[in-house]
């Protein structure tokens, strides 16, 4: 049972890290839209491309990290 508690603890920390990065690109960065705009249209970039690219990378990164955690505790599915 303790193995399961430890596994869930690691899963939860991964979730928090993921959600913090997510919140940064989903909300926080867009609060500074006017300062991002200079000679390069930074606000337009973040809302129309930057955030989305970050989400794609974050999702794949999350999937691989979570799979590693599952494997570490022997909780992954047997193939």
């Amino acid at each position: 049972m303790s193995k399961q508690i430890e596994h869930w603890g690691k899963t939860k920390s991964l979730l928090w890290i993921t959600l913090i990065i997510w919140a940064f690109f989903a909300f926080i960065i867009h609060l500074f839209g006017t300062s991002l705009n200079g000679s390069f249209p930074g606000a337009y970039y973040m809302a129309g491309q930057g955030a989305q690219l970050a989400f794609v990378i974050l999702t794949f990164w999350f999937a691989s990290r979570q799979n590693k955690i599952d494997e570490e505790f022997g909780f992954s599915e047997d193939d």
């Binding site: 989903a26 909300f27 999350f62 999937a63 599952d70 599915e77």
Partner: protein, 611 residues
């Protein structure tokens, strides 16, 4: 008769490779026919007929009488293909037809949709989808009903699912009607019913299995149709090979032009706007980031509502029930997002290049600053004003078209871009086929989500638990037929705009289902009473607020309008769920073990394979 066999899964790359080449070949053939002088109407018909026939063929070949095939495509869809199917399931007529137009007309604030509709997938991957996959449910209410126990939570979830998905599906059938009417030159009401027939052909016989494989085919059509015109325009305007990289120079150029043409100063006169009715002139800058606290708040709330809605819409979540494993479900979310971004990252580029080709006086296709008589003799201006999509109103009577005298509907940016930019008609036919694919694929998924919830959760689990498989599947199909017909009927009434209906669906889903789903996995203490209170309270209060703001004449609180009413429903749902759960008994040991079991991928699913 022919049927997709077991070896179909192992030869997917080959099958869809040939299909993609075949489709490109078809486009080239149409281009040759156009050069040979075949009329535009015939090319439009051929595009729609050819693609819809292929989808229907896949639908018929995938027919099945096994419940696990019908409900979850046999749980054998590879992660990448499920990603493509989810992308098609997800990207609706609103994404395909309306999004670029929204960015064009409403500027930066509208880009909140782009952020919200992509970032939601981070929540899907991390909070919900893999756990529901491990659970082994057929439908979303199946999870709610088993996790919280008893018929009441199940029925609440079914009701929320039906309301949210039905709101959404009417918008999609409306979209198929619009595109079919344009491409085939038939009345909108007839287009709606033709669209519905195509949708039902894809899903009736094979359920989720058929929908999966038609959605992959539809994704390929819609992404080709969306990308080609944008690449073409970027190169034609001389900004560069890849529009996604080249668009930023174009944005700077548009900002320069905004100053020259007076985009934000020159607003339409009241009389001109009255004459143009619901059509809109360009009134905002392309890159005016939120500068006030209110603007930031509106961006934030829109993003949050769309994200939480993404993570609670059943037709999206149920796509992840079809993968072979929990691991594959997680990866599949990444693939979905990647395939979605292929289109979403193109939408702002499309809006920007369209703006440039209309505004920039150094570009041959520009119309602003030219004489009204010259502009109104353009073929595309005439065609689209005939169907009421655009209007020129000479507000100051000087005979020159100013920025505040050109009124249009946002949808035109995608649908008319090929004509505006002077591309051959074959591209317009391709775009029509793509728009139809986008609306049909989403409608498929939604209709199936509704019919499955009613047949599996309401009929089988609540009304007649002894029904055998074949009876359940017959019930599912009959329901599909009736719900489809009801959707088409409501769509033909044209109650609200496509986008309005879509945003409502997201808020219905997040008000009622987001917290019961998330806390069902992440908080063991969540119990039946809490979940029921959360669902009824969140959904009920959200519904009430929408009604008051939309029809009751209430002033929205703090800028929370009808697009964002999840901001009211979600907190109510969370608070009620936590408070009521804590006030009542904690869930029994069996339920707590169930939660432990779904938290690890290893081991048997909670629900048997053929429950």
């Amino acid at each position: 008769m022919l049927r997709l066999g077991d070896n179909f899964i192992s030869s997917l790359n080959k099958v869809y490779g040939i299909y993609t080449l075949g489709f490109l070949g078809f486009v080239i053939l149409m281009a040759i026919l156009e050069m040979a002088g075949v009329s535009n109407t015939i090319i439009g018909w051929l595009f729609v007929a050819f693609t819809v026939l292929i989808y229907a063929l896949i639908g018929v070949l995938s027919r099945t009488m096994q419940s696990s095939q019908y409900y979850v495509a046999g749980r054998e869809v590879p992660a990448v293909y499920n990603g493509m199917a989810t992308a098609a399931d997800w990207m609706s007529g609103a994404s395909f037809i309306a999004m670029a137009g929204g960015i064009y007309l409403k500027g930066y604030p509208y880009m909140g949709f782009l952020v919200g509709w992509t970032g939601g997938y981070v929540l899907v991957a991390s909070l919900i989808a893999p756990y529901l996959r491990k659970f082994g449910c057929y439908t979303v209410p199946d999870f709610i009903g088993t996790r919280y126990g008893g018929n009441l939570p199940r029925v609440c979830a079914v009701i929320i699912l039906v309301v949210a998905s039905f709101t959404y599906v009417t918008a999609q059938i409306n979209g198929t009607g619009t595109v079919a009417a344009r491409a085939l030159q038939i009345p909108f009401e007839v287009g709606v019913w033709i669209g519905l027939a195509g949708i039902l052909f894809c899903s009736m016989l094979g359920g989720m299995r058929a929908v999966t494989w038609t959605q992959v085919a539809q994704y390929i059509v819609l992404i080709i149709a969306y990308l080609i015109p944008v690449f073409w325009m970027s190169n034609k305007l001389g900004y560069g090979l890849i529009p996604h990289l080249a668009q930023f120079d174009a944005v700077s150029r548009v900002q320069e032009l905004e100053g020259l043409l007076g985009v934000k100063e020159l607003l339409p006169t009241a009389e001109a706007q009255a004459e143009a009715g619901k059509l809109a002139a360009l009134k905002v800058g392309i890159n005016d980031a939120s500068a006030t606290a209110m603007a930031n708040w509106k961006f934030f709330t829109l993003v949050l509502c769309m994200m939480a809605g993404t993570a609670s819409l059943p037709h999206v979540l149920m796509r992840y029930f079809t993968t072979a494993s929990v691991k594959a479900a997680r990866q599949s979310v990444g693939w979905s997002l990647l395939f979605i971004c292929l289109l979403y990252l193109t939408a702002p580029a499309l809006a920007t290049f369209t703006k440039l080709s209309l505004l920039d006086p150094t570009v041959a296709t520009s119309i602003i600053g030219k004489s009204i008589s010259e502009v109104s003799s353009l073929e595309w201006i005439q065609q689209w004003s005939n169907v009421g999509f655009l209007k020129l109103v000479d507000g100051n009577g000087d005979g020159i078209l100013q920025i505040n005298e050109f009124f249009m509907r946002g949808d035109i940016v995608v649908l008319a871009t090929p004509e505006m930019a002077g591309l051959p008609y074959v591209i317009s036919g391709l775009v029509a086929a793509g728009g139809l694919a986008a609306a049909m694929s989403t409608a498929d998924g939604l209709l199936l989500a509704i019919a499955n919830a009613l047949s599996h959760d309401l009929y089988y689990k609540v009304i007649d638990p002894k029904a055998d498989t074949s009876r359940r599947l017959v019930v599912a199909r009959v329901l599909l037929l009736f719900i489809g017909a009801a959707g088409a009927f409501v769509a033909s009434l044209k109650l609200t705009s496509i986008l309005g209906a879509v945003a409502w669906a997201f808020c219905f889903a997040n008000s009622g289902l987001f917290f019961p789903l998330v806390l069902g996995v992440w908080w063991k203490r969540a119990n039946k009473a809490g979940a029921v209170a959360g669902m009824i309270g969140g959904f009920g209060v959200g519904f009430w607020y929408l009604y008051m703001v939309q029809f009751g004449g209430m002033t929205p609180w703090y800028g929370i309008d009808g697009l964002r009413f999840g901001m009211i429903g979600m907190p109510v749902s969370l608070i009620l769920m936590v408070v009521v759960s804590l006030m009542t008994e904690e869930p029994d040991q069996e339920t707590q073990d169930m939660v432990d079991a779904i938290r690890v991928p290893k081991g048997k699913a909670v629900l048997a394979a053929d429950h």
